[in-house]
Subunit: 373 residues, 2 copies
């Protein structure tokens, strides 16, 4: 179960995960992981297999329903990818349709959102076999990803050792980009940031954020095995620092995570500063949606991991031309001896991650700018 | 994925499942079941095992948060029970907290609802290992039930043959009972039904409905194996007729289902008539929440099935004192040769199911009448 904090969307929605809950069942063989990390791991009664499962749902935060569907699916799958799992046996879709939509809006928006979700599931090698849809004041989109694994299929997120380095596979700043995009229409908000960014740049940053959020972390999951990753999590609602702290707590060894570099979508750091440290982006507390994997890797493997991420074009999974082609990864910190905590150094280096060209893989046959409310 | 249609709850919520969606994945060995029935069945890559999974979520329809939690969990598990599955490997909880609740309401209501859900999960032999909670205008409660099964653990819902009989394991009328209970406070509604029922009877019918909705169909699932059931479904949002039709469509043989008897919570048929055929209860189209299993059984086994249901006190599962003790089951119809449809005969016999004593297993230490909005 991933922790997804919300962004104040254009339609006024705010999603906020307010609690974690649940209890572990009876003791049984095999590793078990309950509340607190990205997925739950349940030892099964059959032949050393484990059931690994996660659910996530939230409110739309981009205007394009097709991309929103893709983002929701990428966000659900990411919890599996954080455990180095590259396959998903089943996906359920959770949806609510807003009562406030008229028939036309509903017939336009919901099929696109479902299609985006399905396309991303297909890119992840799985398919949607069921789910549930209800009426609600707000649109909800999410899913449940489930896989049954052999022990070697997944990497428990608890094996970091001093000397490892921390790698991040997507830039930070999605919350700032999504909000800045909304503020273009709100003069009192826009006036605060217009000195540091143009509307064209906001649009590009928004497209870049959307592309990143819709990108599956599947290549990173595959490379975790190849380069012997010791632990990983995905960066979502609690920001890079929150998830680093959460991961640190899970470790078997006495380690601490120290973050030196913050790769951030270009200009988002400047916006955050101009707005008076908006969302705590530079403190690592700004929410991300469908963020990258934060991975503890042996030092000697990390550079090659990053190189293969960039070169992969999803080829390690026999794919070509997925939406996330040309992903980058950055070494952002180190694992040292310590008491299972994480921190960002005083003046971290901000890596400005440039905007790529606008969507090369734009969704087919739709205008792509329908209102979701 | 179950189809849950809504009831207009006291707090103004209405849950309505508006679509079924999804596509089957690539062909693979073993039985596979996608959209349209209660659970999805996914053949796994490992040793003949199948992943069986269902999700359901909806809005509160009773005032007691503890009972609402139990009902939500019973409703999720019921989709597994309909396939004769008695075990559940994992349960995730899906929750939203209403924004309209103040801190006090929230701290009172949500823990009770979660506890009810957990208690029912525990009665079902499983536990909640994760989930997600968001803020929303309305309260949502639901879950995801998952099990990995060997071929003999489940009964595909497609083996009915002419000569079978139809058995139902809970009485109908939950929607009428829940609504009648709300109408006691709405004079123009109450005036329409007060000639046929007293307020005390409405209260008893409501308690009876709540008890039935909170009862797990687990005993019935276990007895399906013992008495060689050929197919089953659970009765929820589409009413007895809707689910009978749905089940009929799934059959491998040329069969039709004919329903002769309608077991209904006492006086609910009279209310439905007085209100001008409210909800179509006598036509079999009134929504049920967490209804009984509708099971196709060999004729010679059905009477014994019903007798053991009544006698079981959940004993077939090694339990004693579960909330559903003293459940009944009724033979309600027959399977004949036909073209995969279902109907209710012209003048079905109404079986008035009397109210049991008020809750013998009342939830511990809470007042039990908190508003859920």
């Amino acid at each position: 179960s991933d922790r997804q904090a919300g962004q104040d969307g254009r339609t006024g929605e705010s999603g906020e995960e307010t609690s974690e809950f649940g209890q572990l069942g009876p003791v049984s063989h095999g590793p078990r992981l309950g509340i607190g990390m990205d997925s739950c791991v349940i030892p099964l009664r059959h032949g050393g297999l484990s059931l690994i499962q996660t659910t996530d749902f939230f409110y739309p935060l981009v205007e394009d329903p097709y991309m929103m569907g893709r983002i929701a699916c990428a966000n659900v799958l990411s919890d599996l990818y954080a455990m180095g799992i590259t396959e998903c046996d089943n996906m359920l879709m959770l949806l609510s349709i807003s009562q406030k939509m008229n028939d036309k809006e509903r017939e336009h928006v919901m099929p696109l959102m479902m299609r985006g979700f399905r396309d991303a599931a297909e890119e992840g090698g799985t398919s949607v076999t069921g789910g549930q849809t209800v009426m609600n004041p707000w649109i909800i989109v999410g899913g449940v990803a489930t896989v049954v694994c052999q022990p070697n299929d997944f990497i428990m997120p608890d094996g970091a050792i001093p000397g490892d380095v921390l790698v991040l596979t997507k830039p930070l700043g999605t919350q700032v980009a999504v909000n800045a995009h909304q503020w273009m229409d709100i003069p009192e908000k826009w006036n605060k940031i217009k000195l540091v960014i143009s509307k064209e740049e906001v649009e590009q940053a928004y497209q870049e954020a959307m592309l990143n959020m819709a990108t599956l972390n599947r290549t990173a999951a595959a490379l975790m095995h190849k380069f012997n990753a010791h632990a990983a999590t995905d960066v979502t609602g609690f920001g890079i620092l929150g998830h680093a702290q959460n991961l640190a707590k899970q470790q078997r060894n006495d380690v601490a995570f120290v973050i030196h570099n913050l790769p951030i979508i270009a200009k988002m750091a400047a916006i955050s500063k101009a707005g008076g440290n908006l969302f705590g982006l530079l403190q690592g507390t700004s929410s991300e949606t469908s963020g990258g994997l934060l991975i503890c890797l042996p030092r000697e493997q990390a550079a090659r991991f990053c190189a293969e991420m960039k070169a992969s074009r999803s080829s390690s999974l026999g794919q070509d031309g997925g939406i996330g082609d040309g992903q980058q990864a950055w070494i952002i910190g180190i694992v040292e001896k310590g008491n299972r905590c994480a921190r960002i150094i005083d003046k971290p280096r901000i890596i400005e991650v440039p905007y790529r060209a606008l969507l090369r893989h734009s969704p087919p046959r739709h205008s792509g700018a329908a209102s979701t409310a």
